[in-house]
Amino acid sequence: MKRRGKKKPFWTSMSLGWIMLVFLLAVLINAALLTASSYLLALRTGLVDRYARNPVWPLGLIVLTFIFAVLLSVGFGIPKLRPIHKVNEAMKKVSQGDFSIRLDESRDIGEIHELICSYNHMAEELGNIEMFRKDFINNFSHEFKTPIVSIRGFARQLERDDLSEEQRREYTHIIAAESERLANMSANILLLTKLENQQIITDKADYALDEQLRSCILLLEKQWTDKEIELQLDLDPLTYCGNEEMMSHVWVNLISNAVKYSPVGGMLEISCMQVQDFIVVRVTDHGEGMSAETQMRIFEKFYQGDSAHAAEGNGLGLSLAKRIVDLCGGKITVVSAPDNGSTFSVYLPLENKGPK
């Protein structure tokens, strides 16, 4: 991508190859001029007659020329090659997994400078990705191991003869609940990993967004009727061009969260409308709300703000939703306060230009 900004002096972006060629040409021309003018001068001053007879002079001049030529090219060439060697060494370290080396950007110009800047940028990005990956793996294995510990442990307990009826019931219930959690988590992780490797949304088509929201609401009918939730729907008929299956994950996630955190008999407001070039979908619940700290971290993988409900979910739903919305070139925000409910808003660009 070309950087537009202050106009940089043209020699900083000239190709190294061209510089070499120009230099060579300059040297040749200068050499020719020098030879010609020296000869003419010598001719004029009679030096030719005096010194040409003696072979030492012309030979000496030739030898001197060679020595100067060698000194000049070595003096110019080696410093230019050194940063390339440095970058080479640093790249070797990167291929072995060491992203920590940074090179000094201040000294060189032109293509060498760009090479060094590019290397530094690349090492920084790789370092960040590595950090996320390590974090994710740690979180992930912990989240998986925890239910497995319960399932295995309590299953072994159930093999004993000396348990009370109540203990037996309780342990069996725990095994069922933790297995359920694992099942949900593996489905989410699979989807999340698939999305992480995607840069664009595929399989886009026009469809009715309001109807999709109604379908998603109906999908969760059991959850909201069990809790006697009152639905207030304000859905404008809107057409959206996107991947219907992906988007349904977003809506189901937001709505099931809203139901989960609503009190029994509470109200849930779901709306969709067009605002300028965007479609705005809002899901509002009047439940527990979130602290400012929770709000900041809520889209992180595996993060669960509320420890009371932690057993029901796995902290991946909102990361998934955010990833999908990002891939659509949209935005997802939350406004919330403790005991005052939460409103999640999803902004989808109608033009659907793709991720920024």
């Binding site: 297995s179 099942a183 109807e211 109604r214 609401i217 109906l218 639905l231 207030q232 859905l235």
Partner: protein, 224 residues
Amino acid sequence: MFNILVVEDNANTRKLMTAVLSQNNYFPLEACDGIEALDVLDKKHVDLIILDIMMPRMDGYEFTETLRTSGCEIPILMVTAKEQPADKRKGFIIGTDDYMVKPVDEEEMLLRIAALLRRSKIVNEHRLTIGSTVLDYDSLTVNQPGGEIELPKKEFLLLFKLLSYQNKIFTRRQLMDEIWDMDSESDERTVDVHINRLRDHFRNNEDFEIVTVRGLGYKAVKRK
């Protein structure tokens, strides 16, 4: 007593399913792949098939295709680990009646089995009974204690649909897509008009009523 054939290659999964089915008053039959399943179908009467997809020798898709092309309309519930939308679509196109992704919730599976059996009965007999009211598909008539009413086709189909899936909410769009032509001139308000006419006809019917779910659509429920 319904015979349900479980076609699944994993022994534990099969064991689990047959246990759940027996406990719910169904009679389970077992097969470990498509070929064995065809054998069972030859020898016994089967009301419904629970079908895994990934099996050796003959997989679920092949089995369904074989069944459907030979004219067998036994309801099929695919239960499989394959969860991609493309897999689902393939299943439905080949001829399955329903599709669940493993691991399945047993309760949900039982509900779907019940719905499939019910619809199959309706399809087979072309009539739907609710309490003392009977809907006859072939004559588009509704027989209730007060007398018999013949309904215009679209009205009948609307009522039939809602009562076939009792308690299920349908959006106006879903009803339109099913009962009216895709490119007809009517819009969703037409559905409202027809629903009101149905309500007029059956205001005094003691077996069912049509309920509006605000913002979502309509459903038919049994009257208490």
